[in-house]
Symmetry: C2
Subunit: 246 residues, 2 copies
């Protein structure tokens, strides 16, 4: 599995993804699931992927090829005029990759080669936008009602986001929130694992404000991980105990 989260804030976008892939529990690897393209001053676009690794790598490779071939940049992420058009194009690529693999394998089963993608970014003159793209190629966009998307193992880390997210929060607070959400997931599910990739996209900056890999033993993540356990216990202690009316 995988765990990726994209948060839309007033100040911009904050993204985090894990790097564990597994085919069974005895075949685990580390693969990057966060990819970005930017044209300083014009656009920054980030994708995070979950699902079948061959499918997501095929999609990323095709996007990459297009952005490199200077003479044939048709439908390149670097030239499409809006984030909406980028979402349409990524969706189209994802759908056709999923379909081809399934057709070629005579597989009518559900879900085997599917993948989902979180798309985040901003193009000059327009707002930062956050999309979730389904294996069928269609997509939804985050709004003030639902200002974040998760893909992969979404359940363990969801309650804390529901409680602590605030669109006005600083980037620093948002990174802390994602660290807590990932820590809860890592503690409960073997299919999500360190290292993690972090990216912060500041409004109107058009290149990543901050990008980092969080490795095993990262001091801040360790502080959060142990601190959150203690903080949770304290919070729990502070609540009034149940009383049995006899």
């Amino acid at each position: 599995m995988t765990y990726c989260v994209g948060l839309s804030l007033d100040k911009g976008l904050v993204l985090m993804s894990d790097t564990r892939t597994n085919s069974g529990v005895d075949n685990i690897s580390v693969f990057r699931k966060m990819f970005h393209w930017s044209v300083p001053g014009d656009r920054v676009i980030t994708l995070m992927t979950a699902g079948n690794l061959a499918t997501t790598q095929a999609v990323i490779s095709q996007l990459e090829e297009r952005s490199k071939a200077l003479e044939d940049r048709q439908n390149s992420l670097l030239e499409l005029p809006s984030m909406y058009r980028v979402a349409v194009e990524v969706g189209r690529l994802l759908r056709s990759t999923v379909r081809e693999t399934q057709n070629e394998n005579g597989n009518s089963g559900k879900g085997r080669f599917t993948a989902s993608i979180i798309l985040a970014g901003q193009i000059k003159g327009m707002e930062p936008r956050l999309f979730m793209i389904y294996p069928e190629g269609n997509f939804i966009e985050a709004s003030s009602d639902t200002p974040f998307f998760q893909i992969g193992e979404t359940k363990y880390g969801r309650p804390i986001i529901l409680r602590a997210y605030d669109p006005k929060m600083s980037f620093e607070e948002a990174v802390k929130l994602l660290m807590v959400s990932f820590d809860s997931t890592l503690k409960a599910n073997l299919s999500v694992g360190l290292p993690m990739d972090l990216m912060v996209i500041e409004r109107d900056r058009f290149e990543p404000k901050y990008e980092r890999r969080i490795e095993y033993g990262d001091p801040y993540f360790e502080t959060i991980s142990s601190g959150w356990g203690d903080a949770l216990k304290d919070a729990f202690q502070a609540l009034p105990s149940f009383t049995f009316e006899e």
Copy 2:
């Protein structure tokens, strides 16, 4: 779906289940998923069920019939000599009910009529015991390494149990822990809903120490639900913020 949790403590067993059943989102109902049988001074046995409702009701009805027919109490929960034998018998009933339904419906598909059961209780002269019974009729028992079982929508409410559970905790603290775990689940998943059923089985008491339905608007649950939101936010605030090294 469903959410049921059974905790094994030094002092005894604490059980909680929701009551929502749904077939699609437009067909929801309230059904009890916690059932108990007791012979004061001799035994107390509780089952919590998740999965196909027709299957679990069929199992419960058969157990109920056996415990009522005074002349034919063969394999009745009220007479079996140990919790292990109770687990074997409940597993046998569950497997045969699942199989019959699937065979009669020519259904070779996976999971459609399956169900899982948490079994908890104590019989005089033996320890309190906690089991999880699978649709195939086999089962596992809780131990000091894994002292609780969840069935149904287990993921949202798992992190807080992993962090705050302590085998030495009081019944009052354990009920609080389950309330928090259920609150996180209720907030995130429509297929789990109030009211909830609570049961406390004290070691060597052989009848429920405490049994209650927690209804909508229950003052303690509301205190926990709003208090936990605030406590989580405070705990989150208390953690150090991330800092960007520029």
